[in-house]
Symmetry: C2
Subunit: 582 residues, 2 copies
């Protein structure tokens, strides 16, 4: 049987996944056509590209290492076949999917190993050191910053260390609300085990279906309920990380003053220091009540004001996802047939007229807010009423429960839309950052402008939208989505220019290279600008001290001498950029 590798999309090859049914979204294709100028004939079916047609990079197999592994592990824990190698070649960035659907596999691990215990991992790391073999920790494979790709430049054998068999909630200390969880546990598997004991972690990133606890911690992930539950780094009490210098173990205490916080050396380390085998996390009792609601704000600015007032009044809902006009239009286009009917009724001519004439809404500027409140009945009612008052005061029109529930139902669907769009020759991706309140709107305007200009300069029509979904006392995240049609040159270059425009805008605008997507190699060209030369030196010092042989996930976080070239820009373009930047 010829197996089609271009079936590797947001989901992995053979993974269980949600079915994305475009036929239930009647507004979607018209929207894409309108926004991007997609013609019917643009539908571009790439492939099928069969596994046997893909030329995998030549395989480096260090026999001594393999012998040692096969003697300490079972046979089915050590795999060197083409399919295993391919599935572990990339994460799920636009660049990754773009390559895989064309059968371009220019880097790949040589072997995949499935540890089942910390002891297995210790044996693996020991053998890797003894035989100078590179290890790349692999959780759910959903990373979009290039953290999972083989970037070894010294021709050593490279092993993808797949954590999927370490997927247990080991222990719940119900009195303390602390759960000890194995690093390889995927979101749904973890929540099921926690829910059975009455708890939730409260961490629901868009990648939830396919990402793991260890991966979240290693990348400083954020979930859609972070306004209530915090970012992943706020949830970690302690962890265990196997490194080339031994097992790093911290104590399960709420807070400490024990010098430099070594939890924070492991959190965000993206596999360059070791493998996170276990994390003790803060968990919460399941809420009594929870409901989602939709609101329409007259414009983005009034929505931002409302979010800010909720923060000030200490009444943040657990979700407050404010879409700008672009993302609002996309969200409406994304709704199902039943949603369509609902919206036709709700936003039918009479209501639209009311919004325009009476409330003075400009329907091209309206912004959809998805809001969710949870808690015991009393807290639920108090929060809902406080939030509603603040939204209303800022001019919002309440859409009610239906759009909220629609969001809840489709909350993990957006990444599937990317595959749907890519099937039709669309370049589309996201870039996200965070900044303080006073800089929020300036950064929003300037980034949208930069992205749009970059897209237009590639000769095609531009879509750029943004939403705000993680709020803090001092500011928020800004999550940009951009899209355009491929301009027919058939290279990744068009994408890189747009991505670069977004990241440049962040750094130029005083923001950070990513709020929750990690550095990997995709954002490495901006790391020095973000954390300063001395900050980078500190990170290098830890790397050199813990992993002097450099066997752990090389080429991530720490850039080489020519970061933009390593990233993929042609030498002259990289040169040009560097000069423009300096």
């Amino acid at each position: 049987m010829r197996e089609d590798v271009s079936q590797m999309k947001w989901w992995g090859w053979g993974d269980e996944h949600t079915e994305f049914d475009a036929s239930d979204k009647p507004g979607l294709m018209p929207f894409i056509s309108r926004a991007l100028g997609l013609q019917e004939e643009d539908e571009q079916v790439v492939g099928p590209v069969a596994l046997e047609d893909v030329e995998l990079p030549s395989q480096v197999l260090t026999q001594g290492f393999l012998d040692e592994m096969r003697s300490s592990l079972r046979e089915d824990q050590v795999k060197t076949g083409d399919k295993e190698r391919l599935v572990h070649s990339y994460g799920k960035s636009f660049r990754d999917l773009w390559r895989i659907r064309r059968g371009i596999v220019d880097s790949s691990p040589d072997c995949v190993i499935y540890p089942e215990s910390e002891d297995d991992i210790c044996a693996l790391v020991k053998a890797a050191l003894a035989h100078d073999v590179v290890l790349i920790p692999f959780g759910g494979g959903s990373n979009i910053a290039g953290c999972l790709e083989n970037r070894e430049s010294n021709s050593r054998m490279v092993v993808s260390l797949d954590m999927k068999r370490m997927d247990r909630v080991v222990e719940v200390d119900a009195d303390s609300c602390v759960a000890r969880i194995e690093g390889g546990t995927p979101g749904p598997v973890m929540e099921k085990q926690l829910n059975e004991q009455g708890f939730t972690l409260g961490h629901f990133p868009d990648s939830f279906e396919f990402s793991t606890v260890g991966g979240w911690v290693a990348t400083r992930s954020a979930g859609m309920q972070s306004d209530k539950y915090g970012k992943i780094e706020d949830m970690v009490l302690s962890l265990r990380m196997v490194t080339p210098s031994g097992v790093l173990v911290t104590r399960t205490v709420p807070k400490s003053s024990n010098g430099i916080d070594v939890n924070h050396i492991c959190i965000g380390s993206e596999g360059i220091l070791g493998v996170i085998t276990e994390v003790s996390m803060r968990v919460h009792r399941l809420p009594e009540r929870k409901e989602f609601y939709g609101y329409l704000f007259p414009d983005f600015e009034s929505g931002v004001r409302a979010v800010r007032e909720c923060v000030d009044a200490d009444c943040m809902p657990c979700i407050a996802r404010l879409n700008d006009p672009g993302k609002t239009a996309l969200s409406f286009a994304f709704k199902s047939k039943s949603g369509e009917t609902f919206f036709k009724k709700l936003l039918g001519k009479a209501v639209k007229k009311y919004l325009s004439a009476v409330k003075g809404f400009d329907m091209d500027k309206v912004c959809l807010m998805i809001m969710a409140v949870e808690g015991d009945s009393r807290t639920f009612r108090r929060l809902r009423s406080q939030v509603h008052s603040i939204y209303k005061k800022n001019g919002a029109f309440k859409l009610g429960i239906s759009p909220g529930r629609a969001f809840q139902k489709s909350k993990y669907d957006f990444p599937y839309l990317r595959d749907f769009a890519m099937d039709r020759g669309v370049v589309c991706d996201v870039s996200e950052t965070s900044t303080v309140w006073s800089n929020l709107l300036p950064l929003y305007y300037s980034t949208i402008k930069s992205i749009e200009e970059a897209i237009l300069s590639t000769g095609v029509q531009s879509f750029a939208g943004c939403h705000i979904s993680h709020c803090y006392h001092t500011g928020t995240s800004l999550y940009f989505t951009f899209a355009c049609m491929e301009n027919g040159k058939g290279t990744i270059d068009q994408y890189l220019r747009i991505k670069k425009a977004a990241e440049d805008a962040f750094l130029r605008g005083g923001a950070t290279l990513s709020h929750h997507h990690a550095v990997g190699y995709e954002h490495a060209p901006w790391i020095e600008d973000d954390i300063s030369e001395t900050g980078l030196l500190a990170v290098r010092a830890i790397k050199d001290g813990i992993d002097p042989a450099g066997v752990m996930n090389p080429g991530k976080i720490l850039p080489g001498d020519r970061p933009l070239e390593d990233w993929g820009l042609a030498e002259d373009e990289a040169q040009e950029s560097q000069e423009a930047g300096s």
Copy 2:
């Protein structure tokens, strides 16, 4: 004039300070007598020890360094006199005060430099590197973990880098609730500048009068309102730190995913990597209303349950300081004459009878809770009523506003009590830690037992008490206070045995070496046990990478080969301890 060095107490020599008026605390001496067996004749007046009688360690002056400094700074920024050296010799630990009041100055810096800008500090660090001179950052001088003491073992010249002239709130971004504050700014100076603009940092450690922003960040400090405002590490958005490898600068953003978090490399670094010159902190609008209240719980366990229920119900007051029976007795003994009258009235025979007979209180077990609520009127009322219900449900008796206000008035007084007690030959200090809820009471019982046994083994009567004052979703801090009479041997040994018993109990009991007092050299013997060998290696790697010449604050955090001996235990005792521990 003969100046009395034993006047260096909790306050510095010549510092403005609160007057501690024992004559207004009629219950204090009777309590100390009862608790510790103090006899009237025990009052031990040490000194006066005049500066000219103190033998300061011989002074190492590297002329090339001094010339360079005097050419880049003004004359009054570089001081080498005896008084300056003495004042910067120690922090304010029990051991520090014990030595200073006897005129024992066995270590001291050779020179004190007062930078007035980051440029001054850059010049200073550059000269230190060029001439192999050691630098010890010095904020308010209140550290009690030995962070400020000269522990240089290679006879290099040692400079105390006093930050007191960098004491400005540089900028308040009111829209973002972010304040940029110079590292040397002391608590009161900072709050005054913030209050004038309508803000507060919300950080009020016991050392508030004498400690600085940079010191708080470098030691991972916690203030008495941490339940509302968080620990200092939760407040930092970005910082600037001058290191021997350049200036480390991070970006002022609420959150990021930019690899290993370099803010957290600087936070808690206790001067071993560099000097924190500036921090951008999360600040808050001043609350509309605030009030303190006192409650009596029938016992410690019911108080703990009440605190826990407030955490679960998400209605933590901004202060909830629960004293165990020992600390409750001390608090009552600490009250002023007017408080005495109030308590006589309130806890007069009739009420005591009511509490005993009707409510079944055992008056030897009652526990005082000081609680404070703040916020806008609505939040204030809601919180107060929620907390009150929970306290009442757990058997608490409301004492009302007076004891709360008494606490508020005397909230920075406890360190002064230590000097008062030391004047009378009392050994007294604190040790604090944190643990998860399920371990809270077991750790409390076992630590009290360890401390009491250690004191008794030194041949004197024992006092050990505890309070809880920093609460988290997963646990709390535990703050132990211990006291006994000096046993007449005239050495620091008695103190070290007791302190060691407390720290051993923490580590053996699964807790951490300190919740907010830092490592310094006082807690260095326990660091490896706390963060693991590999964790310590990571910290060493950063130190070696950023400060390869080892000029920044040697001997802190990172222990030597014989940590307990370096700490002060005689060789045979240290040996014995090590064997018992292993």
